[in-house]
């Protein structure tokens, strides 16, 4: 442990000393960079002094701070897709410079870069910044824009099963991804079993995915951080967007509440099939004498955000998200002397609320204070009621059953951006999170009253609520060591207290970039991550019953070391090429024991799992064109992901290594977008990946004492057929009097590839003749054939 502490402490001391180097003749330029049309703040815009060669980027709030020596300054402020802003002036005092950039309509670009300005210049590697416009242009299942499915097209990010939104990053599991919505964790990011994600693209401003080399400000998951920022809202005039597709209808409104001071942004998405089907269900139930029946399913997402600007230096932001899936059924039957009714409700979903205050303490020091509440809950309620009149006496009977599980977090955090001089951008802060785990509670109530007898029964069974506290402190510095070398170093310190046990963790992070020429750089990074909670889930399908549980005295925190290195090349500002190698070692991972699974009830879950290790390594190649009518990229990943469970009493596969379920040797994705003019654009994606693994008993034999034995040689000994698919999409835009209307056509799985969703043995019992088996076959279930879809949207 001592050895563990020495390196980060030395590193931090060095960084702090270097930050002290302040020139007496230096002054600070600070301000906010915005979109001229919407006044939305721009994240990661570049502010660059062409004379000194110093520069910086805007932070998550669109603020920047650049300290330069006294004298002439020749600034260039740029952001991809916007016309750059140039300014020359004499710097003789601290200066506030707020700039609004104008979108560049002539130079439409689609970029996926490690940094929007120039991926090869940033010290950050293994990160993907994906513009929302691009997410919207990716053709997807049922035409429903999906952030996570767009991310699945990128190197190092794998999809799980056909059609699912889950992401598997560099050999990690689906519960190893941290999803942050405006800085607050979201625990369940799926709708409809994972076919759709919970993120409504209309509400989103910025999406950044970190796959490795994690900055110290992030922690809590092993494999990735998806940082999503929602729109603040236009502060000049009311804007909106409404659309209707095959699955859902969406509406987005934004505008000023108080001009130039307070803005709002509200987005709502809801599926509508249940509403369409209601008359038909009512008619059928009447026809079939089923009483008054109503049933259906829907999901919705509601994003709301209000931003109040006290001044350019002070903002208060209140944001809200709620998204639920709901299955409901109601039936009421009235007969001569009474009535009976049945109600079923099954709800699951998230709710997130946060209040943030951004304040610029000094031109060099920016503060962000956040209070947040997040909740995921899964509830089932069923009620049966009966009223009956006998001889003028009313008999009443009711029975209610409910099930609840979920997790709640209360968060308080403060973080600071500090730029002592142009060579350092320091971020530091701390957070306290109170987790409330409610594993599962089942309740039964019964009441009977017939005038004479009165019977009541009320019982609750389940696991007790678990409280846990997580404390985090971090510091990181993005340090220009010289013209060629840039380093991002930091440390994240966490402690997790649960059930009388305290787990501390010190997580050093380090990444660096060395410019070999103006266009070519090499980068390397190391990160250590710890995770204090696990998600108990069953299969590749995301079920609402998937349950988050904390570490326990027996189940220790997961932790991972990841090393990555890469070469980045920018070709004349037209195209970017990158090659990254990574190696990740994961410890204390969980796998279900042979013959065990999880289905809703958490009792005894520790006995169903084994704790072991895993590792993953691979090569990720990305070539992308960012400018012109035709843009897009080709990504390729070669990877290998293994698991080893060989601890005493925790063995799987006889203690031998075995491939992970989503171990895939090859992953290819091609994305091409073509936009010849403002009225038409189209895009196509093609994906190919090696098939998932699975376990099959390939041999059978007879044991005279035990009967017929199915023999499994090893875990995940079988590989499904390769997965590939082509999707295309076309958008037709037209300027109308009050706005732009768009017809979108898309075709999912254009060449109707029957990709496997499930593989199982089909066994015809009638085909056993004199003990001889005939007709057994291995079959696949394919869910999605060619699926065309259409949607209409209007933007004003």
């Amino acid at each position: 442990m001592k050895h563990h502490l020495i390196c980060p402490c030395l590193l931090l001391s060095l960084l702090l000393l270097s930050c002290m180097r302040l020139s007496a003749q230096s002054y600070t330029i600070s301000g906010t960079i915005r979109d001229d049309a919407s006044s939305e703040t721009l994240i990661s815009a570049t502010i660059y002094d062409m004379l000194s060669g110093k520069g910086t980027l805007t932070n998550a709030q669109g603020r920047y701070s650049l300290t330069l020596p006294q004298g002439e300054v020749r600034l260039r402020i740029s952001y991809v897709g916007y016309q750059p802003y140039f300014d020359t002036f004499q710097l003789s005092a601290n200066r506030e410079l707020n700039i609004s950039l104008t979108p560049n309509r002539q130079l439409q670009t689609v970029t996926v870069t490690a940094d929007r300005v120039s991926s090869h210049r940033s010290s950050q590697m293994s990160a993907i910044d994906i513009p929302v416009e691009h997410i919207k242009s990716v053709p997807v299942l049922f035409g429903e824009t999906d952030v996570l499915k767009a991310l699945q097209l990128l190197p190092g990010v794998q999809s799980g099963t056909e059609g699912m939104s889950g992401i598997y990053v560099r050999g990690g599991g689906p519960d190893q991804n941290l999803f942050l919505l405006d800085g607050v964790p979201l625990y369940n990011v799926n709708h409809l079993g994972g076919f759709f994600s919970a993120f409504n693209a209309d509400a989103i401003k910025n999406v950044t995915l970190y796959k490795g080399s994690f900055p110290a400000r992030f922690g809590g998951r092993l494999s990735s951080v998806l940082d999503i920022t929602t729109n603040d809202g236009n502060d000049k005039r009311l804007h909106g967007n409404a659309s209707i597709g095959v699955i859902a209808a969406k509406v987005n409104l934004e505008g000023p509440i108080y001009k130039d001071k307070t803005t709002f942004n509200v987005s709502l998405r809801r599926t509508y099939f249940d509403l369409l089907m209601q008359p038909a269900i009512m008619a059928i139930s009447t026809l079939e004498d089923m009483g008054r029946t109503n049933l259906g399913y829907y999901f919705y997402d509601l994003n709301a955000k209000v931003t109040h600007r006290f001044s350019e230096r002070s903002r208060l932001i209140a944001s809200w998200y709620s998204g639920d899936d709901r299955i409901y059924a109601r039936m009421r039957y009235v007969y001569d002397n009474g009535d009976e009714s049945v109600k079923l409700g099954y709800n699951w979903g998230n709710m997130v609320g946060s209040l943030r205050w951004n304040y610029e303490l000094t031109p060099r020091l920016f503060m962000n204070v956040t209070g947040a509440y997040t909740r995921y809950r899964n509830e089932i309620n069923t009620t049966f009621e009966e009223n009956e009149v006998y001889d003028s006496e009313i008999n009443y009977y009711s029975a209610t059953m409910y099930y609840k599980s979920g997790i709640r977090d209360i968060t308080a955090k403060v973080d600071f951006d500090f730029q002592p001089n142009p060579d350092h951008t320091v971020k530091f802060g701390g957070a306290w999170v109170h987790h409330i785990f409610q594993p599962d509670i089942t309740g039964n109530k019964m009441e009977y009253n017939d005038g004479d007898d009165n019977l009541r029964y009320d019982t609750v069974i389940g696991q007790s609520i678990v409280h846990a506290n997580e404390l985090t402190a971090f510091i990181e510095d993005d340090w220009n060591v010289g013209e060629m070398l840039k380093i991002n170093a930091g440390v994240n310190v966490t402690g997790f207290a649960v059930q009388g046990k305290f787990y501390p963790s010190l997580q050093p992070r380090l990444s660096g970039r060395l410019m070999l020429s103006d266009d070519l750089s090499v980068k390397a990074g190391y990160s250590y991550m710890t995770q204090y909670m696990h998600q108990l889930s069953n299969s590749s399908i995301s079920l609402p019953s998937d349950l988050w549980v904390p570490v326990t005295a027996r189940i220790e925190p997961m932790y991972a070391h990841q090393l990555a290195a890469g070469v980045f090349y920018n070709w004349s500002g037209i195209a970017d090429f990158s090659a990254e190698l990574y190696y990740k070692r994961m410890n204390n991972m969980l796998e279900y024991k042979d013959g065990s699974s999880f289905f809703g009830l958490s009792a005894g879950w520790e006995d169903k799992v084994c704790m072991g290790d895993g590792w993953s390594y691979g090569l990720e190649l990305l070539a992308q064109r960012t400018i012109g009518d035709i843009t897009g990229w080709v990504g390729y990943t070669w990877s290998r992901t293994m698991r080893l469970f060989d601890r005493p009493g925790e063995t799987l596969n006889n203690g031998e290594p075995f491939p992970a379920k989503y171990d895939r040797r090859h992953d290819i994705s091609v994305m091409v977008s073509y936009k010849p003019n403002e009225e038409f654009d189209c895009s196509a994606t093609w994906v190919f990946s090696t098939g998932n693994t699975g376990t099959l008993a390939l041999q059978e034999y007879v044991d005279p004492y035990e009967g017929e034995i199915s023999y499994v040689s090893s875990r995940n000994n079988f590989r499904m057929p390769a997965y590939h698919r082509l999707d295309v999409g076309f958008n037709f835009h037209k300027q109308k009097k009050h706005g732009i209307r768009t017809w979108s056509l898309s075709v999912y799985n254009l060449y109707n590839r029957k990709n496997p969703f499930l593989v199982f043995e089909r066994f015809d019992t009638a085909s056993i003749v004199n003990g001889v088996h005939y007709g057994s076959s291995l079959v696949k279930l394919s869910l999605f054939p060619i699926i065309p879809s259409i949607s209409y949207s209007f933007k004003f």
């Binding site: 034999y701 023999y711 079959v779």
Partner: protein, 320 residues
Amino acid sequence: MLIASLFFTSCVEPIEFDPGDVSPYPVLVSRPCGDSTVSVYISKSRFFLANSSNVHALDDATVTLTVNGVPSAGVYDDGACNGYGGYLFPLLPRPGDSLRIEALVPGFSDKVSAVTAIPQQPSFEIVDCVVDTNVQENWGNIQAKIRFKVNCSGPNEYYAVRILKAFSASDTLNLDDLNFIVNDPIVNNSNFEDVLDGYNGSFWDREMFFSSELFTGGSHEFTAVLEYWQGYWESFSSNPFTLYLEVRALSPELYRYIRTTGGPNSELDELFGEPVQVFCNIDGGIGIFGGYTIKRSGMPEVHYGHVDMPEQYYYKSTKK
């Protein structure tokens, strides 16, 4: 509706499947018991999609059993191995003996081999036995509680326990194994793997498996509870009968094999869990070669008459 439409559009069709080598493996199954004749079952496996029946015993193999370095050849017998046919050896291995089996199976070039040892006799004692005829709990109204203590001499010892009933006190050849349950705080709160199989305080079964890890190599006292409907007991109650406690000491390999042949814990587990990987210790083939010893101890006769039966029958055993 969406789910319905998915079902409508989904399809099931045979998979293009390249399983690689689907040729059968030689199979060897043998459970040598201390002080008993050793029988060995030899056959071969079948590829699970093959249009063929399960292969039964092969009678043309050459099988050699070596006990403490002394080899002997097996002779095929149709009635051996539960009537499936197998090779018999004129040996009675003793507890503590080391055994090695080797077989040359026609059609397979490599020799099949495995090793095991005969564990020492298990040490246990019956503390007491209580039969209660007037209980109204769970699903039975006749209840027997047997307290017994198993003495382990060290770690890595594996046991199986059964409770048997002789139809009459003297008929030890016709034994019926009974369902029982173990209510035990250690058993119910056990966090150990390889400790118990099928017993968590709420599950009735005919055999309990555990390892000495449960009580860190020392002794442990169990209480086994049997419950039956009165009619079942009455069916054999015209004569006195005897309950037997049977403890088998298992070799580690046999213990792991038996545990893994039990399959998934439940139907849901079968649907959603990973298939259970059956343990195998056969070099050059599949199957099991695992020794065990057996010890059985009877409780004095239980007299259960239709009319005269007292409400509670109590027997305090002497040490066995």
